[in-house]
Symmetry: C2
Subunit: 332 residues, 2 copies
DNA sequence: ACGGTCTAGGAAAGCGCTTACCTCAATGGG
DNA sequence: CCCATTGAGGTAAGCGCTTTCCTAGACCGT
């Protein structure tokens, strides 16, 4: 592995000069030397050691991103936005998947901290459990204490810069849409009970039930795991236990897609509304009515917050949810 | 930012001892000291500087991954496999999106090289252009020369460890399926002409045409960009220009989904076969017949190659493509 | 021609950590 | 009872780079 010293020796200059030439320092250097050094770099195929650079110049550049799972379209879209902005700013974004395990999130925070990232962006639902939330915030604060910046997407655990999709309002919109269409007997497929996103969206659904004076018994609320197969399994169950249900509100699109598949296989005609409006929502059949969250934008804004100046006041940007009507919901 | 020296001072020991305790070195240490050091770590919220560690111990651990675009389900699945194996091996996987730009691939190779990763995995189609391929291989060789390991997925540019999906055979399978069903007039939606994946799959389609003694005029082969919208636009065109076409072979699922949407909007009944068998293939309507590639497995195997012993002989694993019949293709 | 001012380039001090090597005290054997 | 041995802990030399400070030659004005 060629080092700067090798290059300098090869070109017959000091490491200081070599460094200055390679990094395009403002200090003027004779053209002859410059050419010799550059030639040496090419010949030795020299690639600077990023770790040594990080250590020597003490400024941080890379940014860390923690999401639940990039291969989930929801996070894939958010990540796309995150990356786009990071890249435009000339920064390496290190993406970590927690696979929905809080412990892994903690590990990754420390890992990113250890890697001296300039900022960490955490996307994806937080955890209702107070102890878990506290541990998380504790690590985050330790990171901030060393000058790191943090931005979260839709998380309550940490007070600081945040982009907050309005999950509660979205839940309201979803349920209200079903009620508006005249559905009385609805079932809800919520996400894991431990997640704040589930709680928030569910709160909106419950508020809608109250506003519309509809009853929404506990038994009509099911918890799945935010995956397509989870939605499928629960919908199978709903069809058997509650044949009178005419509409289902799934609290994310993946589960809604599963619900649609189950309904198709069971040859039942039940309205379904999803949440998030992932790209595939328009391509399933019937195309999926959903509550749209501008996922890519969420990512872009969060990264901009993370890369912006550290303000004294935490900046919290609220992002509205919006109904996208398609074929999977209809008048009763 | 607390340093090891701070911790050592705080605990009244040398940095050597502190380091040994923190890293669980095999050297025995008095329990009293251990406790003091650990207490200091907790109190100061010390997090070791990963860059300094990398520099001091000279072994590499992280691995780099370069894909076209993680938010594309094709790469999302591959990445999932890649990550799973990397994580199981206790390594950080740094994921980079080239967004299909060869130059960015080069940049990322250097960047990962600079970050002293132990291995680089490159997934996604390579480039037919000889000059581009040569530049790529050049960078890769420079990386290998420093002891780095490389594994590629479906790329021809670099000779070394590789996992090769059988794209040619897959193309054959797709076209043969259509011919078997009695379709004579077929159109092909290929990917960007500059990509090797496009060329390989197309070669298989052409071979099928030859074997089945069907003509496949140039005009029936369209190039789109492997995206859903690209497939949609091309299919709009096909419907207008070639109303006699009864079946379309799209050379990836995203474009096939777009084709399905266009056909639905145009109220035409045309058979469609995709390629890759992405998870959503079963949830579009009609559900998509496709040529299955075990994407997650592709990723897992590539990462295993990258992390395995460096063998003298390059190991090349071929992965078969397989027809998955669903509702989007039918007898003529 | 001489002192003073620039300027191009080099010497060397770290950045935060690991680890080979050294020290010193305690221990045991002869 | 003394010396060799062991073992716990410290000292310090880097890892590869950046950057401050310094040097020595070139250049200017008088």
């Amino acid at each position: 592995m060629a080092t700067l010293a090798d290059v300098a020796r090869h070109a017959g200059v000091s490491t200081a000069t070599a460094s200055r030439i390679i990094n395009g320092s403002s200090k003027p250097v004779a053209d002859a030397l410059r050419a010799r050094v550059l030639a040496a770099v090419a010949e030795l195929k020299y690639v600077p050691n990023a770790h040594a650079q990080m250590l020597a110049r003490s400024h941080r550049s890379a940014v860390g991103v923690i999401v639940h799972d990039v291969s989930d379209p929801y996070f894939a879209e958010i990540t796309r936005g995150l990356q786009r902005v990071a890249e435009a700013d000339g920064r390496l974004a290190i993406i970590c998947n927690s696979y929905r395990q809080p412990d892994r999130e903690l590990e990754y925070i420390d890992l990113l901290h250890a890697h001296q990232v300039a900022a960490i962006v955490i996307a994806g639902s937080g955890y209702l459990d107070a102890a878990t939330a506290a541990r998380l915030d504790d690590r985050l604060q330790a990171f901030e204490a060393t000058g790191g910046r943090i931005a979260v997407i839709g998380r309550h655990e940490h007070t600081g810069d945040a982009v907050m999709p309005d999950n509660e309002e979205g839940g309201f919109i979803a349920a209200a849409h079903l009620f508006d269409l005249g559905h009385e007997d609805i079932a809800v497929i919520a996400g894991p009970a431990a997640l704040t996103t589930t709680a928030d969206r569910l709160a909106g659904v419950r508020r809608a039930a109250k506003v519309y004076r509809r009853s929404l018994p506990k038994g009509r609320i099911f918890h799945a795991d935010f995956t397509r197969d989870g939605g499928y399994a629960v919908t199978d169950l709903i069809q058997v236990k509650f044949p009178e249900v005419t509409a289902i509100a799934a609290l994310n699109d993946s589960m809604a897609v599963g619900a649609l598949a189950s309904l198709r296989d069971g040859r039942r005609r039940v309205a379904v509304i999803g949440f998030d409006d992932m790209p595939i929502a328009r391509d399933v059949t019937p195309s999926l009515t959903s509550v749209r969250l501008p996922l890519t934008e969420l990512g872009e804004r969060a990264m901009r917050l993370a890369l912006g100046e550290a303000g004294a006041e935490p900046r919290v940007e609220h992002v509205a949810a919006e109904l996208v009507r398609r074929e999977s919901t209809w008048d009763r």
